[in-house]
């Protein structure tokens, strides 16, 4: 088909940029696999699932509990962050007075830039002692989820805000013209209209929560176990890597790379799954 000259030059360049970005993932996976290789060839792969627990130096490589912990922490975080993040976006987009809007958006940006070390330290030195008073040890699944929620909230809020802002002005005019009250407009018109973009933002936030290391490392307690309650300490796959990578050798190190691989695979499955739920298949 015909394409204008400028586009004929631009299109392959743009496509190349996109493919370069995607190629980074391939490289990352290659790096992880090459790190995991010693474990992948010497171990029966099922041991990573079937072993009861994780004592790599004693030949036990069970990761199932950590996998579950990663998922649970992420679920708690997104369950808290999604509604609050969307509400923050609604606040900025429709509710707050103009001056407050700017300041509030700024506050969210500030939260987005809060180093995870600082968040983790806040959790460890402020929140954990608080929780510890009524449910020792305080380091727990729930707390990790809560601190993570604070961390990913800006992602949800800013992507949702962007989605609201890019809705056609006509939509707002139309809704107002119908004399619909504001909260009905927002709940029944704007949120549905922006839902695809909000969902994408939530997926990004979930991915971020799953990949976060420092916060969980400090507040989740890092005990390898199947949690029996929200107040139990757990270890996630990311914390596992961060805790042990520095000192691990040989098979231990390779097993840690396997947990990285598992994590990446999990995100992949999650994203494909989410695409199905979203209905219009974004990446098939």
């Amino acid at each position: 088909m015909f394409q204008p000259h400028a586009d004929r030059i631009a299109k392959p360049l743009l496509a190349a940029a996109a493919l370069v970005c995607a190629a980074v993932l391939v490289l990352i996976i290659a790096v992880i696999i090459s790190g995991a290789w010693p474990a992948l060839i010497s171990q029966d792969l099922v041991v990573f699932i079937t072993d009861a627990s994780w004592y790599p130096l004693e030949g036990q490589f069970g990761m199932l509990s950590m996998l579950l912990a990663s998922l649970l922490v992420m679920m708690i975080a997104i369950l808290l962050a999604a509604p609050m993040g969307i509400i923050c976006a609604i606040f900025i987009a429709y509710i707050a007075p103009v001056r407050v809007q700017k300041i509030y958006r700024f506050a969210i940006a500030l939260l987005a830039g809060m180093p995870s070390v600082v968040l983790g330290l806040w959790g460890l030195t402020v929140l954990v002692p608080l929780v510890n008073k009524w449910s020792p040890p305080g380091l727990s699944l729930l707390l990790a989820g809560i601190v993570l929620a604070v961390m990913i909230l800006p992602t949800v809020a800013l992507t949702s805000l962007a989605a609201f802002k890019s809705l056609p002005i006509a939509l707002q005019q139309a809704a107002s013209a119908l004399g619909v009250r504001q909260h009905v407009q927002i709940l029944k018109v704007f949120i549905p209209a922006a839902s695809a973009a909000i969902l994408s933002g939530m997926l990004l936030a979930m991915a971020r929560a799953l990949g976060e290391t420092m916060v969980v490392l400090m507040v989740a307690g890092n005990v390898v176990q199947f949690p029996s309650g929200l107040m139990e300490p757990v270890r996630t796959l990311t914390a596992n890597i961060a805790l042990e990578m520095a000192y691990a050798t040989d098979q231990h190190r390779a097993a840690l790379f396997v947990s990285g691989l598992l994590l990446t695979a999990m995100v992949l499955v999650m994203m494909s799954f989410a695409a199905r739920i979203k209905g219009h298949n974004d990446y098939g």
């Binding site: 088909m1 015909f2 204008p4 006509a170």
Partner: protein, 276 residues
């Protein structure tokens, strides 16, 4: 105002002397349009005459707008739409594979139902297309902008605030700006998709007068639901209708004839308001 019955001289299109001596400018042969296998418009044959205003009328969903956007291949932007047949413009089929779409669309401009000025200043709205065709001279640009703004009757209203954002204009002003934006490229044909339907009656009348004033200087194809308007402005009219869920061209002719002595019973029924 010039009455459609009187002959009149042509401005830019010097070859055609008057509207009453029709020369085909766009020639449509066996044009069919499908969306995802489903035919929406079937086998249309029609000539659009140079310097004249041709109105496309008919009920909603009978393929008028699709037909209109097939004439400058804007339909290409709609996913799933396929076109068969030919549209000849200046002796060349616009559907041949190596057709330069940019050139085509610069020659065949389009005005949309909802005014769509870019969210830029009035000046930049008009300067941007000019810069695209390689006009860099600031004075020339300013001259051309002044000319088209006068042509659409906006100059008096906006000349002191050209750097104002165009989206702050009223609906009618926005639509006239869009027409000016199309005219600034000096096209031969203007396609208009219900240009007045999103406007209030007063703005609508102003835009209608503007359209009438274009007659003779540009070839205009206008989709309208307003039969009175079609009658007022058009030299020629084409009536589309749905038959077995497929859009068809039922009747085409001088608008006076079509409105006063329709040949087809469907046309007659539609014009009388008995159908549609």
């Amino acid at each position: 105002m010039i009455s459609p019955d009187k002959g009149f001289t042509i401005g830019q299109l010097t070859e055609a002397k008057a509207c009453c001596e029709p020369t085909p400018h766009l020639s449509v042969q066996n044009l069919s349009i499908n969306y995802h296998q489903k035919t929406v418009l079937d086998n249309v044959n029609l000539d659009i005459y140079k310097g004249c205003i041709t109105a496309l009328i008919g009920p909603s969903g009978c393929g008028k707008t699709s037909f209109l956007s097939a004439l400058n291949r804007m339909l290409d932007m709609t996913t799933g739409a396929t076109v068969s047949g030919q549209v000849t413009f200046n002796g060349e089929n616009i559907y041949k594979s190596d057709k330069d779409l940019l050139q085509l669309r610069r020659r065949v401009g389009m005005i949309f139902q909802k005014p769509n000025p870019f969210p830029l200043s009035i000046y930049r709205n008009l300067a941007l297309p000019l810069k695209e065709i390689g006009i860099k001279n600031k004075q020339l640009i300013e001259h051309k902008i002044e000319t088209v703004l006068k042509e659409v009757g906006l100059w008096e209203e906006v000349h002191h605030q050209l750097d104002m954002t165009a989206t702050k204009l009223s609906g009618g002003q926005q639509q006239r700006l869009c027409i000016a934006r199309a005219l600034v490229l000096q096209p031969e044909v203007l396609l208009m998709d219900e240009p007045c339907s999103a406007l209030d009656p007063i703005s609508s009348a102003v835009v209608e007068d503007l359209i009438v004033s274009l007659r003779g200087r540009y070839t205009v194809v206008i989709v309208t639901h307003n039969l009175a308007q079609a009658k007022r402005v058009a030299n020629y009219a084409a009536f589309f209708w749905m038959q077995e869920r497929v859009g068809k061209l039922i009747e085409f002719g001088r608008s006076q004839n079509l409105f006063e002595q329709p040949q087809n019973t469907l046309t007659a029924a539609f014009i009388d308001g008995r159908k549609g």
